[in-house]
């Protein structure tokens, strides 16, 4: 079976002062192959922790994750990551960054170079292949990160606020790009974001998480991602269902944030 199964995962961090943080509690999720899911939630609700567990950087204190039918034990090329920023290798050219995965796997240059060039073309960096990473703008660097991830041909792509550091305009363009890549490659994608619009536009499924302990609060299935492929995202926002869904989720997260604030004030 391919796809991703998150089965009853719990994560508890023991703190040096003797206390502990229950970052995740009994999270269960099934993601089918080729699905794109966005994750929303107030700060500190365990989104990054969940992603790190799926990526294999963290071992959960309870439960397990299964990808393509086997248990996740550590990081692997089948699960690619796109970080917010700072994950590119500055000492390599754009092309060397993008071909990093295949090179590490020991593939022959003739076998991977076509692929690398193809993805660089798709993300619009055909003229910057020989440039060093530090010569690119922030948006271009994120496109390199996307291309690098895709050129390694993973089954699942995990993104932790990949567009968080970009300006609004670049961000919109990148959102279209992500949708396009999703459709073209048919990858399974989990995308964490703080932007409700981004979550609605990019997520076939939108997961809203709640904090303390981190858990799934509500899940939506939305048509906007499918609509957005190859279309103007601003038009998608005109859809009659869009604004009410947005309001609902916004209110939900507001309430959670308020509760957190109230609780901290009450404690302090």
């Amino acid at each position: 079976m391919s796809g991703l199964a998150i089965d009853n995962i719990s994560m508890r961090f023991d703190l040096p002062n003797g206390g502990h943080v229950q970052a995740l509690q009994d999270v269960t999720l099934d993601i089918k192959e080729g699905e794109i899911m966005s994750v929303l939630g107030p700060s500190g609700c365990g989104k990054t922790t969940l992603l790190n567990i799926v990526a294999g950087f963290l071992a959960p204190t309870g439960g397990e994750t299964r990808v393509n039918g086997h248990k996740v034990e550590g990081p692997d090329a089948e699960r690619g990551m796109v970080f917010q920023q700072g994950a590119l290798f500055e000492w390599m050219s754009v092309r060397d960054n993008v071909s990093f995965g295949p090179r590490m796997a020991g593939k022959r240059k003739s076998d991977y170079m076509g692929n690398v060039d193809h993805f660089l073309d798709i993300v619009g960096l055909q003229d910057f292949k020989e440039k060093m990473v530090y010569e690119l703008s922030g948006g271009m660097q994120q496109r390199v990160a996307l291309a690098r991830c895709l050129a390694n041909d993973p089954d699942v792509i995990l993104m932790d606020e990949p567009l968080g550091a970009l300006d609004a305009l670049t961000r919109e363009k990148m959102q279209s790009l992500v949708l396009k890549l999703w459709k073209e490659t048919g990858k399974t994608i989990i995308l964490i974001t703080h932007s409700i619009d981004e979550a609605l536009l990019l997520g076939e499924r939108v997961l809203v998480m709640a904090p303390r302990p981190g858990r799934i609060h509500k899940e939506y299935r939305l048509p906007f991602a499918e609509m957005g492929v190859g279309a103007d995202l601003r038009e998608v926002k005109e859809h009659p269902d869009y604004a009410p869904t947005r309001e609902e989720i916004l209110g939900m997260i507001w309430d959670m944030e308020e509760e957190i604030m109230g609780r901290t004030e009450g404690e302090g």
């Binding site: 990081p75 692997d76 700072g86 994950a87 060093m132 530090y134």
Partner: protein, 513 residues
């Protein structure tokens, strides 16, 4: 054999003084039982020992502080003068510049420049001027021929001059005679000239003095009267009367009058307490060549040593040995230190094992190890290279450790997710990522090594730039010492420039991540 601290009280020059004395206890005696301290002494308690030591230390340090403060304060006018010079040059330069090209670049449009770090650049004109000023000051104080003579400070008096003295004979008569003074350059021989002795009982004298020296004139040597037999004495110099009788003493042998001295236009002339005349030619304001040779002297020395060597060793050999030691020591330190740093950055066990060693050795300056290294290895190359190896080792290890610790975890995670193995991550992520840190470490290490090698050579070496300086100091060849210092500075600067250039070339991404 045991030792005991005795606190002794005694009288000296009418004052009661206390002193702590460490005294051996004689064989077979036991302190507190059979041991009796010397007269006026008693065995000191622990507290007395402690307070005495800190009391002496305190008073010594107080005196030293006073000395330092006095020296520092006496330097303040010079510092202020120098600052004034800098500021004057600055205003002059600004005036010239604004007059010539009123430039309008981005920085010149900024209204807030004071406190805006990015608006402060190193002004090239100021750098050039500061170097020129150093050479001018140097030339001014040494009477250098490289700068026009109106910039020279007054030099020492050279050439011929004379003054007259008036001698008093026992019968009460006086007579004038002239003293011809020739002030010679160092090493110059006085020309033999017959002088006219003149008339009267006092005869003319002649004396040759080397610059920066003084000479006693035994004026009565050729006179008809003498100091010893006739108690003849001088009663005037250049017509100015002197009232000084060197024979008038009290019963303790102390003079009743202070010996007088005269400031003539070319020299200071003083009558000694034996009645002779001491001639001190005017020394001017310049530095003696022994203290500070002129720039062109140093330059000529440089040419000479470069061509013919110093004490049968060529300059290239001196320099070559010093550089050889630095390069070999540094390379060995880097070869061991970088892997050590990586190991410390990647493994808990290695970090735990080496942390105490590195943290202990880091603050120990390599110079402090020179005596030990000489005892262990002698003064051969092995010892010096070992010293430089140690100097470079800790710096490189710490730099490599910092380089590994400085890798962003997202890069490592990204590499793992792209399927890299541990070895590939070390090779393609951790090592390149640590290169900027390693280069910074290498620059520091090279600087430290260069400083250490010179110091080590000062202490023990057959050749090397430091050895050249030590040898020169034995012969008081200040020009060579100065030359050595300048070469050390230039080579050190050159090494740093080379490292910076290498850094720009090899790690162009530094500071841009």
């Amino acid at each position: 054999m045991t030792t005991v601290n005795l606190l002794c009280t005694f009288e000296r020059l009418g004052e009661t003084q206390t002193e702590l004395r460490a005294t051996p206890v004689p064989e077979g005696q036991i302190v507190g039982e059979t041991f009796t301290p010397a007269e006026g002494c008693e065995v000191a308690t622990g507290w007395e020992v402690f307070s005495y030591q800190f009391g002496t230390l305190g008073s010594e340090l107080a005196t030293e502080t006073q000395n330092v403060l006095v020296s520092a304060i006496s330097g303040i006018p010079y510092i202020l003068g120098y600052i004034l010079l800098i500021v004057i040059f600055m205003f002059v330069w600004r005036a010239i510049k604004s007059f010539l090209t009123p430039k309008r670049d981005f920085t010149s449009l900024k209204t807030v420049t004071f406190g805006d770090e990015s608006a402060v650049r190193s002004e090239t004109a100021a750098s050039i001027l500061s170097v020129i000023v150093i050479f001018i000051i140097w030339g001014t104080f040494t009477g250098s021929s490289l700068i026009p003579s109106f910039l020279h400070l007054p030099g020492p008096f050279k050439g011929e001059a004379s003054f007259t003295y008036t001698a008093l004979a026992p019968d009460g008569t006086t007579d004038d005679a002239e003293v011809f003074v020739t002030v010679l350059d160092a090493g110059e021989e006085a020309a033999e000239v017959e002088i006219d002795p003149g008339d009267g009982f006092a005869k003319n004298d002649q004396v040759a003095v080397t610059i920066y020296r003084s000479e006693i004139v035994t004026w009565d040597r050729n006179d008809d009267v003498s100091r010893r037999d006739d108690a003849a004495r001088i009663v005037a110099i250049n017509g100015q009367p002197v009232d000084f009788d060197y024979n008038a003493e009290d019963e303790d042998g102390n003079l009743l009058q202070t010996p007088p001295s005269f400031d003539l236009d070319f020299a200071r002339v003083a009558i000694t307490n034996r009645g002779t005349i001491n001639v001190v030619p005017d020394q001017g304001w310049q530095m003696q060549p022994l203290y500070l040779p002129a720039p062109e002297v140093v330059w000529n020395r440089f040419i000479e040593i470069a061509k013919y060597g110093y004490q049968n060793v060529y300059l290239t050999v001196h320099l070559g040995f010093s550089l050889f030691r630095v390069v070999v020591g540094f390379l060995l330190g880097a070869i061991i230190g970088i892997p050590l740093g990586y190991a410390m950055g990647l493994s808990n066990w290695f970090r735990g094992w080496f942390d105490p060693i590195v943290e202990f050795m880091r603050p120990v300056p390599p110079l402090a190890l020179i005596p030990l290294v000489i005892i262990w290895f002698g003064i051969g190359e092995v010892g010096k290279i070992f010293l430089l190896f140690l100097a470079a080792l800790w710096i490189m290890a710490i730099a490599a450790r910092a380089g590994v610790s400085g890798v962003r975890i997202t890069k490592v995670h990204a590499a793992y997710s792209l399927g890299a193995s541990k070895w590939q991550i070390l090779r393609h992520v951790i090592i390149p990522n640590s290169l900027p840190e390693i280069f910074t470490g290498a620059r520091v290490a090279m600087g430290v090594c260069w400083g250490t090698v010179v110091a080590a050579e000062l202490v023990a070496a057959e050749e090397g730039i430091g050895k050249m300086i030590t040898t020169a100091s034995k012969f008081q060849s200040t020009d060579i010492i100065l030359l050595g210092v300048i070469i050390i500075g230039i080579v050190g600067f050159g090494i740093d420039m080379l490292m910076r250039w290498g850094e720009r070339y090899l790690v162009p991404w530094k500071g841009k991540a």
